[in-house]
């Protein structure tokens, strides 16, 4: 569900740069989502499903808790 200011934070932008400056489009293609969803995730405008969270974490080769955190 899309939300303006989700309580779930993430470090996707940092992980992309640590993985050879991966582009948003490359991450989107790897996870089967649109680039605009990556943009919304990085901006904290969208909280992903558990499945997508796992797919993103798998793409970076880390655990889900290394990508996402509960901010509240």
């Amino acid at each position: 569900m899309s939300a303006p200011g989700t309580p779930i934070g993430n470090v996707i932008r940092r992980l992309r740069f640590e993985h050879g400056e991966m582009t948003q489009q490359a991450l989107a293609d790897a996870c089967g989502i649109t680039r605009q969803t990556v943009i919304a995730l990085e901006a904290g405008k969208y909280a992903p499903s558990l499945e997508l969270a796992f797919r993103i974490a798998r793409t970076f080769g880390v655990g889900v808790e290394d990508v996402f955190e509960w901010k509240a």
Binding site: S2, Q36, T37
Partner: protein, 210 residues
């Protein structure tokens, strides 16, 4: 052809197309004529849109940053708005003197049908443009589901309002409710709910991009 020359040709043509389609009284041109008229008009509008969004312009970059789902929503909103406007302007001509279907109704319905066909063609062209990309994901589906909820809600309100109106209004005050008028009201409600769905979808995407 240079961009400014394209604008000089396409802008007057697009205004003329709008005038012929929506303002001038209907002239029955038959299926081939009607199809050529609607197809020509939409071709001009499409070429104008394609010129605006051509790469290298700030608008083109802005459109490229918009997801396929959002582009579908705004295009759907434009087409639905055009159909609703056309329907609203011509609805009274569809009602015959006896309250039934007027002869003009067929031509008006055909024009609306052609607009829907043109819309489908534009969506197919865009789908081919995005064929190598992911066109929808879980965020798109969540937004679509929320917008569909709004559309369903608006239809529920319309149906309940009509039910209350007809149940509690004395029959002598319902002389206006002739078959074709009711048919037009229901169709306008349906088009309106589609308009609301596209509007909510577009706004949800826009809010995520802000």
């Amino acid at each position: 052809m240079s961009r400014s020359l394209r604008y000089a040709v396409l802008i007057p043509l697009s205004i003329l197309a709008f005038y012929v389609l929506f303002v001038l009284p209907d002239v029955d041109l038959g299926w081939p004529g009607g199809l050529a008229l609607i197809g020509g008009a939409w071709l001009v509008w499409y070429l104008l849109w394609a010129t605006w969004t051509a790469s290298g312009t700030s608008l083109g970059e802005a459109v490229a940053a918009v997801s396929p789902g959002e582009q579908r929503a705004w295009i759907g909103l434009l087409f639905t708005l055009a159909i609703l406007l056309y329907f609203g302007l011509r609805a009274s001509q569809m009602v015959g003197t006896d309250g039934g279907r007027a002869p003009e109704a067929t031509a008006i319905g055909r024009h609306i049908g052609m607009m829907v066909v043109a819309w489908l063609v534009v969506m197919q062209v865009l789908a081919r443009r995005w064929r190598d990309k992911v066109q929808a994901d879980e965020r798109d589906r969540a937004i679509e589901a929320r917008a569909a909820g709004w559309a369903r809600g608006s239809l529920v309100v319309l149906v309940v309002a009509l039910a209350v109106l007809f149940a509690f209004t004395p029959p002598d005050r319902l002389a206006w409710a002739r078959p074709m008028t009711l048919s037009n009201m229901l169709m306008a409600g349906l088009i309106g709910s589609c308009l609301l769905e596209y509007l909510v979808t577009g706004l949800a995407y826009w809010r995520d991009r802000r």
